[in-house]
């Protein structure tokens, strides 16, 4: 009689653990998805800024055509990119293009004093730091998910219900690459 109770007890414990683990997977997966859509929102915001920035800089430095074309092309490529990896590489191009654009702007004191440009610059810095923060949150959640998928015993539940690993969003940090002290 006694062994039967023990077997039933163990089975119940395993079942409870299974339900908890399954729920944890669902929760983390939701957070990963939310993290990704946050990144998406911020990237879109940056796409929207680029034409305005290019137009404003053009007004003062019309001959820097290569720079404008580079950033515009990078933007178009990034909008068309599919999947986490290709998206990250395309965004690096956009970041590089924007750096060039801002470097050009550095040479024009009148442009740097333009109020419209200053507002766009704040918007760009703000958006890029939000991209960095969204990436940070997303990658943290992916780390948690991948650890759970990869380690026992939660791995069993992952296999059973098909929870898979997700890819990290690895981009160059547009804001905190080399440390700047005074912004």
């Amino acid at each position: 009689m006694l062994p039967l109770w023990i077997v039933l007890g163990v089975l119940a414990a395993v079942l409870v653990w299974g339900v908890f683990t399954y729920n944890r997977f669902v929760r983390i997966r939701t957070r990963v998805d939310n993290g990704w859509s946050q990144i998406d929102v911020q990237l879109r915001r940056r796409y929207d800024l680029i034409p305005n920035l290019v137009e404003t800089v053009k007004g003062y430095a019309a001959h820097e055509r290569e720079v404008f074309e580079h950033v515009t092309q990078a933007r178009a490529d990034a909008i068309g990119a599919q999947g986490v990896g290709p998206q990250a590489r395309a965004e690096d191009q956009v970041t590089a293009g924007l750096r060039q654009l801002m470097a050009v702007a550095e040479a024009y004191p009148e442009l740097k004093a333009n109020r419209n440009f200053l507002a766009l610059q704040e918007e760009l810095v703000g958006t890029e730091s939000k991209i960095a923060y969204a990436r940070q949150f997303y990658n943290d959640q992916v780390t948690r998910l991948n650890t759970m998928v990869g380690t026992l015993p939660s791995r069993l539940i992952a296999k059973l219900f098909g929870f898979g690993e997700r890819a990290f969003f690895d981009i160059e940090d547009p804001v905190r690459g080399p440390v700047q002290v005074d912004l």
């Binding site: 957070r31 939310n34 993290g35 946050q38 911020q42 507002a119 704040e122 918007e123 810095v125 703000g126 958006t127 730091s129 939000k130 960095a132 923060y133 969204a134 940070q136 949150f137 959640q141 905190r176 440390v179 002290v181 005074d182 912004l183």
Partner: protein, 301 residues
């Protein structure tokens, strides 16, 4: 982090229960003086329930109003809004409402009952003295309070215990002015009422430092260290907050709206006295660890 949230929930419940018992006890005692303990008890229960409900649901509005904070739009303060939104994304919480307090001392606080109903307020002085990275450090610290639910506990402490402190300050002032200048010719009718009010006021004045002490006990200085560390984890850049704290160390701390009830909510302990750093009384009620120690711990990270 999750232990911190659970601990804050527990502490909030304990605080509400203790405050409830205390208030009802005082009500019963006052009732006894008037000849009907049960009547006093009934009134005290109703008042205590009202006080606690309003502390929970509108404690944030009470605290914000007491500092005369004003909600600012994205257009008014784009940089501040961008930083708050960015760090809220990093912390995985909704973006809190953003307020500016008309004070020249650089300082900041967060309030609200949960991340869905949170507010972050900074002083005009903070916006004027901090650069972007330092501001990020400060907001990171405040968002750590939001994530940990320190805001709920801190706000309830401010409004429930603070109610007593505020009342006693009110009585103290009215006694002071009444005792010296006024008091001509009001001995005619209300002698007994005056006496009772005087007794309540006197009791409150004796109790107030005790309650101030209670606040000090209730808010452990550890939560500031913890929020510093978590804030730095959010920004991934501890030197930002370090540099901000250095500036705070050098800046004046006097604030017009400083009081014992809300002191513990601020990033840096506000001072009531212009010029002098902190009065003896305030050092006694110090709710914050010394800034030098906070900087040291951050630099070790």
């Amino acid at each position: 982090m999750y232990e911190q949230i659970a601990a804050n929930r527990r502490k909030t419940v304990v605080l509400l229960v203790v405050a409830f018992v205390l208030l009802v006890g005082v009500g019963y005692a006052i009732g006894l003086i008037f000849g009907s303990g049960w009547f006093g008890l009934a009134i005290a229960i109703v008042l205590a329930v009202l006080l606690q409900l309003s502390a929970y649901y509108s404690g944030d509005r009470i605290v914000l109003a007491s500092t005369r904070a004003r909600e600012v739009s994205l257009e008014e303060q784009p940089r501040l809004h961008n930083i708050v939104e960015g760090l809220a994304i990093a912390a995985g919480v909704p973006k809190p409402r953003v307020w500016v307090v008309p004070e020249q001392a650089p300082n900041a606080f967060a309030t609200g009952r949960d991340p869905q109903h949170a507010s972050v307020a900074v002083t005009e002085g903070l916006l004027a003295t901090m650069n972007r990275i330092e501001l990020e450090g400060v907001i990171g610290h405040e968002l750590a309070h939001v994530v940990d639910r320190d805001i709920l506990y801190g706000t309830i402490v401010a409004t429930v215990i603070g109610a007593v402190v505020l009342l006693s300050e009110f009585f103290m002032r009215s006694l002071w002015w009444g005792g010296i200048g006024g008091r001509r010719g009001d001995d005619r009718g209300g002698g007994a009422v005056d006496l009772v009010l005087f007794a309540i006021g006197f009791a409150l004045i004796i109790l107030a430092p005790l309650f101030g002490q209670l606040i000090r006990l209730a808010v452990s200085r550890n939560r500031e260290y913890l929020a510093d560390a978590q804030g730095a984890m959010l920004t991934r850049y501890p030197p930002g907050l370090v540099s901000a704290l250095r500036k705070l160390q050098a800046a004046p701390t006097a604030m017009r709206s400083a009081n014992n009830a809300t002191a513990h909510l601020w990033l840096n302990q506000p001072s009531r006295v212009e010029g002098e750093r902190m009065s003896t009384m305030e050092r006694l009620f110090s709710t914050h660890p010394p800034i030098a120690e906070r900087i040291r711990r951050l630099e070790e990270m």
